[in-house]
């Protein structure tokens, strides 16, 4: 698994370093432009943009990875990595999908889920680490329970405040960190 992790990290880092977000969008945009000419009308483009993407909407801004292999808005509960989460999404609190907000501390002890990535069809082991010691105020609550089990099997339970080994056990939000992909079947 460690080798696979390193390989995955190397591939993704290589992809990220060679490929800017804009270039990904430009390639995707070119494909979309080629595929359909009707939506190029200004009205159609305006309608096609979600309210949240409109900078004047006052709504939460969507956050995308920019990597087509990691699709979805990371501030929304239906993002694929959040399949076993129960809590607030750190991407809405100044953190990101896998980093805690400033002023908090990430608990090294966590619970584990297995989520299917719709882009590459692989199952990934995801650790849900709580960020602790900051303010919780109810933004981006998300409750999904695939693989969640009662507190009796603690490592698969998402109701526990997983703030252990940190200065404060007061819960703020939860990140979703990819630990690795399920080994390929031979």
């Amino acid at each position: 698994m460690a080798d696979f992790d390193q390989l995955t990290e190397k591939v993704l880092r290589g992809f990220a370093s060679r490929t800017s977000r804009r270039s990904v969008f430009s390639v995707l945009g070119g494909m979309l432009a080629g595929a359909a000419s009707v939506p190029l009308l200004p009205v159609a483009r305006a309608d096609g943009r979600s309210a949240a993407e409109n900078p004047n909407s006052g709504e939460r801004t969507p956050v995308y990875s920019g990597n087509p292999q990691d699709p979805g808005d990371q501030t929304r509960c239906d993002y694929w990595r959040y399949c076993a989460i129960d809590g607030s999404l750190c991407a809405c609190y100044g953190g990101s999908v896998n980093a805690c907000p400033p002023g908090t501390e990430m608990s090294p002890i966590c619970w584990i889920g297995t989520c299917r990535n719709p882009a590459d069809g692989r199952n990934y082991i995801v650790s849900y680490n709580d960020c602790c010691g900051g303010i919780l105020w109810g933004r981006c609550n998300c409750q999904r329970n695939e693989g969640d089990r009662p507190v009796v099997r603690a490592q698969n339970n998402n109701e526990i405040t997983w703030c252990f080994g940190v200065k404060s056990q007061s819960y703020t939000c939860t990140v979703s960190v990819i630990l690795g992909a399920e080994p390929e079947k031979k």
């Binding site: 002890i109 919780l136 329970n145 089990r149 507190v151 009796v152 603690a154 109701e159 405040t161 007061s170």
Partner: protein, 385 residues
């Protein structure tokens, strides 16, 4: 109208306005009496059974009148993190177990039990819990329980090492700790003691003496299939037997009348056809019971992995003696937590998102609906006994 006209009319308008109070005072001959200041309401020593405690996990605990169309809030006490409560039947006080930090989200952590006067809701006592280890889990059954006829309180700890702190609630002092490695939550068993569910699939029972020391312990054979069909940890007691339900739709009774919990034969909630249609229990506080021994379970159709804590569409009612389903109640809104009130004519309380719906448990008719403003997470319901 010219400026001159306005000047002429102005005194008339002002005169009419000045006369208006006199018309009103003719209608109401006397002014309102002066109010007393400094009045604070109190509650009866014995609460009526149409009241219920509502635990908004980590926000507040509210006492509501669920038996009257006034739907009024009776009173509230504070809750900070994973707050749980114990309401004695006859003692003039009740207890909450809570955790705070000296600087709101940081600073020194204190775990403590507050003793509230039932009549005034004043905090009249406090028991500080040692070790800063009280379990911080969404408030649920099994985190804070009575034993020894409500004299002792048991607090579940998780660091993630699991243990139970034994507290003398009458003398307001901590008696000691019992380690329960690999196990979780507290289910009172025997005269003084408790049982707990373990990761090995067993139930582990501990018998205590009056001083809170362990006298003996025992462990069942594995019966809880934690991977594919685990027991929900919400449960309800009927005649000394605790009824759990499993994720895939079975009932698991455990006899708690003696020091060693005895696992009784399980039985299905669903027919083979209903099992094939994926009717399963789902929700949060998803089971309840009444004085007649009827078991109420929140049920959901088309259930699958990941929906086990979703709100459910129906409540199914069983006679636990005959193991037969008596009726199905279809909810007007999907419900997550249920409880039956304890009066002469019980009602079924169903938390459905930010509402508490009150049903007739016989007919399934909706009687009234209460708003639950500010509810963002799970709700635990404890009707007054």
């Amino acid at each position: 109208m010219s400026v001159k006209g306005i000047r002429t009319a102005l005194p008339v308008i002002l005169g009419v306005l000045a006369a208006a109070p006199s018309f009103a005072s003719q209608r109401f001959a006397h002014p309102l009496p002066r109010d007393k200041t400094g009045v604070v309401l109190t509650l009866p020593a014995k609460y009526p059974t149409n009241w219920a405690f509502l635990d908004y996990a980590s926000e507040r605990i509210e006492i509501r009148d669920v038996g009257d169309d006034s739907r009024r809030v009776i009173g509230e006490v504070q809750a900070r993190d994973s707050t749980t409560m114990l309401i004695p039947k006859d003692r003039p006080e009740f207890y909450t177990a809570d955790t705070v930090w000296s600087r709101y989200t940081r600073g020194t952590r204190t775990d403590y039990i507050t003793v509230y006067d039932k009549r005034t809701l004043d905090p009249i006592g406090e028991i500080v819990l040692p070790g800063r280890k009280r379990a911080l889990i969404t408030a649920q059954q099994g985190m804070f329980e009575f034993t020894d006829h409500e004299r002792l309180g048991l607090v579940f700890n998780f660091t993630p090492a699991a243990s139970v702190t034994v507290v003398d609630l009458v003398h307001r002092k901590v008696l000691g700790d019992v380690d329960i490695p690999g196990c979780a939550l507290i289910f009172p068993s025997g005269r003084i003691g408790f049982s707990t569910l373990c990761a090995s699939g067993t139930v582990f029972s501990v018998k205590l003496d009056a001083a809170g020391h362990v006298v003996s312990h025992s462990e069942s054979k594995p019966f809880n299939h934690l991977g594919h069909n685990p027991l929900f940890t919400a449960s309800t007691m009927i005649d000394g037997v605790r009824y759990f339900v499993t994720m895939k739709g079975d009932v698991q009774p455990i006899d708690m009348r003696h020091a060693a919990a005895k696992v009784l034969p399980s039985w299905p909630l669903v027919t083979p056809a209903e099992r094939a249609a994926h009717w399963r229990p789902s929700g949060w506080q998803l089971v309840s019971s009444d004085a007649q021994g009827e078991l109420y379970v929140l049920m959901q159709a088309h259930a699958h992995e990941g929906t086990q804590k979703d709100a459910a569409d129906e409540v199914w009612v069983y006679d636990v003696a005959t193991k037969q389903r008596l009726r199905r109640l279809r909810l007007v809104r999907p419900g997550s937590s249920i409880a039956l009130t304890h009066g002469a004519k019980p009602t079924l309380l169903v938390q459905a998102d930010r509402r508490l719906d009150v049903y007739d448990p016989e007919t399934g008719a909706l009687i009234r609906s209460l708003g639950l403003p500010g509810l963002d997470t799970r709700l635990s319901i404890e009707p007054v006994r």
